[in-house]
Symmetry: C2
Subunit: 390 residues, 2 copies
């Protein structure tokens, strides 16, 4: 049922012989994206504290937008009227939008899940709203996303096997409706006419058999890519790794595999080893605004008093513009004074760190040295006492 030949959308370039890791390339109408890729999160059409120019300098090829937030404000109709999300935010490269599901379910008492869709009250003004698979597709179509996510129920954690099964089956029925509405919108030929690609989201909590059932049902419908949803929602880390390790190799080899909402640098390396191609997470930008930066030697919090006279850059091994110019002492001073520049510099560095990590991962796989890279990366984190203490 796919409207675009998947072979043009995604290609595996090199597979690691000792793990499930692989490099590849995703081609959209807006950019070529080398995988494994980390996608910075631009919830409301801005990756917090960064300009689009900075993201281009860092060579980000794709960023995320959030359907729920943009739907409520400024509204997808307004964005469509102004030429779509790329045009609205002046981002000429690729955009992936989530389905709105995750945010809606996070509303707790403010929402009511029905077969038809989800009724909820806006967190902004309390107004009554409704999102269904069809509405989610219509919003993402109006936004002009390159990669569209099917509307799913993000199963809460913990969930009993019965709850998880019931939830994944709803996700399957919504995935079928998402696929149908996506195809209808595309074949209707209304603008935006550029190709877009629809991803299904695998649920099933931490239960292998349910994850397998969810994947099989999505495969029957057919998507251009598959995402692992419902992880990084409170379960222990080993369960996330275990679930990914189980399900990723069962996902189609010729389609991108996307682990949603993950994670730490270590999570990225470990999940690539388990076969994942795509990641997104608010951690690098959110932590940056709290003074926490990621470095080749683990995390550090630049607000710490011990950096008061430290003239080293945030990360001595980093080539980003923030590390080339500014010291820990200065950035700490900016934090203590609530200066915006602190958020700018730490966000810039953290995104640089994440994108650079993915480049190193891709290069290691391409050179057949991923196992060595993985071991040395993890050893580097463990050797440094900072990651444990800050």
């Amino acid at each position: 049922m796919s409207v675009i030949a998947p072979s043009l959308f995604f290609q595996v370039l090199k597979s690691d012989p000792q793990s499930q890791a692989r490099t590849g390339v995703i081609k959209t109408a807006h950019s070529e994206i080398e995988t494994p890729v980390f996608m910075p999160v631009g919830t409301r059409g801005t990756v917090k504290a960064l300009t689009q120019e900075m993201l281009e300098t860092l060579d980000a090829r794709i960023i995320l937008g959030n359907t729920y937030h943009l739907f409520l404000r400024p509204g997808h109709q307004l964005i469509a009227e102004l030429g779509g999300l790329h045009e609205f935010i002046s981002w000429p490269r690729s955009l992936l939008t989530d389905s709105g599901g995750f945010q809606v379910f996070s509303l707790g008492d403010l929402r009511k899940i029905k077969e038809e869709g989800v009724e909820f009250r806006s967190h902004l003004d309390g107004s009554k709203q409704f999102i269904s698979p069809e509405v989610s597709m219509q919003i993402q179509h109006a936004l002009g996303s390159d990669i569209v996510m099917a509307f799913d129920e993000c199963t809460p954690y913990p969930a009993t096997p019965e709850e998880a099964k019931k939830s994944l089956e709803l996700t399957t029925r919504w995935a079928l409706r998402s696929r149908a509405e996506f195809n209808r919108l595309k074949s209707a030929g209304e603008p935006p006419a550029l190709p877009a690609f629809l991803f299904g989201i695998i649920q099933g909590s931490v239960y292998h058999d349910l994850r397998k059932q969810s994947l099989e049902q999505l495969l029957e419908i057919g998507f251009e890519g598959y995402a692992i949803g419902g992880l990084s929602v409170g379960e222990e880390k080993h369960m996330m790794y275990d679930t990914t390790e189980f399900i990723a190799p069962l996902m189609p080899k010729d389609k991108p595999r996307y682990l949603m909402g993950v994670g730490t640098p270590e999570d990225l390396v470990e999940s690539v080893a388990r076969g994942v191609d795509m990641f997104d997470c608010v951690m690098p930008t959110r932590n940056a605004r709290n003074g926490q930066v990621f470095t080749s030697q683990g995390k550090l919090n630049v607000r710490n008093a011990k950096y008061a006279k430290d003239t080293k850059p945030l990360d001595e091994k980093c080539a980003c513009a923030a590390c080339q110019r500014y010291t820990r002492a200065y950035i700490r001073h900016l934090y203590l004074n609530d200066e915006i520049l602190a958020s700018i510099l730490c966000s810039y560095h953290n995104i640089a760190f994440y994108l650079d990590l993915m480049r190193q991962i891709r290069q290691a796989i391409a050179l057949g040295e991923f196992a060595i890279f993985r071991a040395s990366f993890l050893a580097g984190l463990q050797e440094n006492p900072r990651s444990a203490t800050e």
Copy 2:
């Protein structure tokens, strides 16, 4: 008593035949500064919401730092230990620091003015502090400022002639002590060894005779430049213009004239016409963070609902990177969502607008067309209804 030959520091290049306007150049150890110049304010060692790279792109040659703020946090000793303020904030061009006087006097009940200096309590932690002319010089010396301001009492407005006279005479005595301590620090040969220049500050409220008395007393002491203080502190605009118009032409022609804390774009044009060479003001960056931007057609507040679908740039005549890329509709959206990028883009544009205005002023004077420029600039502001309504 000046330690540097003033002729190397400042040179008038061209004088406007129809007004007091003139172009010139200030040379410090860190940059050449074409005048008339607007100096962006970097209170705590950062021009709010901008990176140093952005200021360089905008061709800012000099920025301000605030003695009071840097004295309290992180402390001038720490900054000196790390190589001075240029090094600490990574700003290789010129720095002017105020004397701390203005901020200390703004503390109201928290401070006590004596002949020796000012006792006050820190707004950060309530700790007891003291700044005298000598301390102010020592702080600014430790910071390594290129242009140092004498410690003055900023006469409040309104003030009776008696109050203003008493205040300016204290300022004169403090100016003498500032000069002596500045010279002592310089001749002691302690680092920083780079040349610095000391400016005296003229007080006297809105009284011509007192302004003249203040200037004459400062001239006897001798400074590398002279500033007009105690304006833009609540008096009506015509009084500010009148006072500047009276005093500026009496100030030495071969030394820079600095009007402190001023002002709007109109104020800059009008004060240049009255003979002023240097300006500083928080307005472009503070207003930017509230969504108010300066344009060739007057002010606009981008939060206004009428810009919701406006795909024009902030200022259609502006060549800055923000105006080349982003629309009013997008920036409005960013504001309504409290996104940091809104402050970045509006601050960038406003500083670009101010620096570009000064370039236009300098060019008009150089071409002998300042009168035409002034008339057409003011007409442009008045023709546009926005400036009146927003």
